[in-house]
C-alpha cells in the first residue's frame, strides 16, 4: 500500500493528499492509513532518499529536502525573490491569530486601512471569506487558508508560533505584568 501512496503523492504534487482521501482510495481505516504514511515517511528517511514526506497546510505532500536547497537554487537561475510585504505579513499574522475577523477589526489593530492588503491576500488565496459577523452591518469575516499554512511551511494551525494569550482589556494590570516578564529583554 505504501507504493500506492507514493504514486498518489506523485500524482497530486503540491495539491497533496489528506488522510481522509487515503482512507477512501485505499479503503482502509484511519489507523492503518496513518501507519502507511508513517512507513513511507520512514522509508524515505531511512534510505536517505532525495525526497521526503511532509505535512504542509493540512495535507501530506512529497517534497524535496532542505539540505539540498543549494542544488535546486543552482537549477533555478537567478534569485526570484517574491516575498510578501511587511504589511501583508502583519495582516496575515493578525488574521491567523484572531480568525474569524472582520476588516474593521484588522484596521483597528493595525491602525491603518487594510482593504488593499486584504484584497491582495484574497487574490493570492492566503485568506478567504467565512461568513458574516453579527456586528452592526454584518461585515464579512475572514480567515486564513491551507495555502497560507503551506506558504509558511506549517502543517496546521497548531503549528503557528505561540503568542501570549490575548488578555482582556478590562484587566490592564494583568496585561502590564505579563508583558513585563515577556518583553523584559527589549529594554532593561
Amino acid at each position: 500500500m505504501e507504493e500506492v501512496l507514493e504514486g498518489l503523492l506523485y500524482v497530486q504534487g503540491d495539491v497533496g493528499i489528506t488522510i481522509d482521501e487515503i482512507k477512501q482510495i485505499l479503503n482502509i481505516d484511519e489507523e492503518t492509513a496513518g501507519k502507511v504514511v508513517y512507513n513511507l515517511k520512514k522509508y524515505y528517511d531511512d534510505n536517505k532518499r532525495g525526497l521526503r514526506i511532509n505535512f504542509l497546510g493540512n495535507t501530506i505532500k512529497l517534497t524535496t529536502r532542505e539540505e539540498h536547497k543549494e542544488y535546486y537554487q543552482k537549477l533555478l537561475d537567478g534569485p526570484r525573490e517574491n516575498s510578501l510585504s511587511d504589511a501583508a505579513l502583519e495582516t496575515l499574522a493578525i488574521i491567523a491569530y484572531n480568525e474569524p475577523i472582520t476588516r474593521g477589526e484588522i484596521d483597528n489593530l493595525r491602525g491603518v486601512d487594510s482593504s488593499y492588503v486584504l484584497r491582495r491576500l484574497l487574490a493570492k488565496g492566503f485568506v478567504k471569506e467565512c461568513g458574516k459577523s453579527e456586528l452592526p452591518g454584518r461585515p464579512i469575516l475572514y480567515k486564513t487558508t491551507d495555502d497560507f499554512l503551506d506558504y509558511f511551511g506549517l502543517s496546521s494551525k497548531d503549528d503557528l508560533p505561540s503568542i501570549e494569550e490575548t488578555l482582556e482589556v478590562d484587566e490592564p494590570k494583568d496585561l502590564y505584568t505579563s508583558i513585563y516578564k515577556e518583553g523584559g529583554d527589549t529594554n532593561g
Partner: protein
Amino acid sequence: MDYISIDNFEGPLDLLLHLVKESNIDICDIKIEEITDKYLDYIKHEDNLNINISSSYLIMASELMYLKSKSLLPKNNVEEETDEELTRENLVNRLLEYKKYKELTETFREMEQSRKEIFIKGPEKYSNYVEEHRSNEESVDVLIEAFKKFLERKEKDRPLETTITRKEYSVNVRKNSIKNILRKKGKVTLDELIEEDSKPYLVVTFLGILEMVKEKDITILQNKNFEQILIELRS
C-alpha cells in the same frame, strides 16, 4: 533625532512604536506629553504627506493632542469617568497589541524564507489518468463553476482604479457582419450569432436582426416552442 521617511512605517502605531523604542522607554511608561511632541515633530518634518496615507497619521495626531491636553488640565475627578475610548491606557494597550503582531512578522518572514528551501512539483495532468474524456453536462457544470471562481479571484486581483472605455456598436455594421456570416454558413442558430457577451452588443445584434426581417433580407424559423431559433438568408 534621525528622521526615517514615514513611508517606511506601516501606520501611526508603527511610528509610535519606533518613537517609543528610540527614547528607550517601556511602552507602559510612556509619557503622553513627550510622545505627542515627538510624534507631531515627526509629522511636521515630513513635508510631502500623501493625503491617503497621512489621514491615519493625522487622526492619531489629534488623538494624542487630545490626550495631552487632558493630561495638562487639572483633574476634574468628579465628572467624566471611564467609558471614553481615548485614554492613555487604551493607547498603551493598542500599542502592546500591535507590537505583538509586529514582532511576529519577523518570525513569519523567517518561516517564509525556510519554506522556500523545499520544492514540490505541481500536480500531474489529470487527463493523463482519465481513460476517456467524459463530456457530459456534469463536467460542463464543473467547468462553469471553476470559471466563476476564477472570475471572482480575478475580480479581487483587479487594480482598485480602472478606466472604462465604452465600445461603440453600430447596427449597420452589425447587420453587414450578420449577412456575411449567413452567406458563409447559410443557416445559423441565434446563439451562433451572439459571440460577445455585452449588453450593447446583444441589443445591436437584435436590432440588426429585426431590421433585416423588416427589410425581408432574412427569415426566422422555429419548429417548436423553446427550440433553437434558426436564421436564414432570403434569396
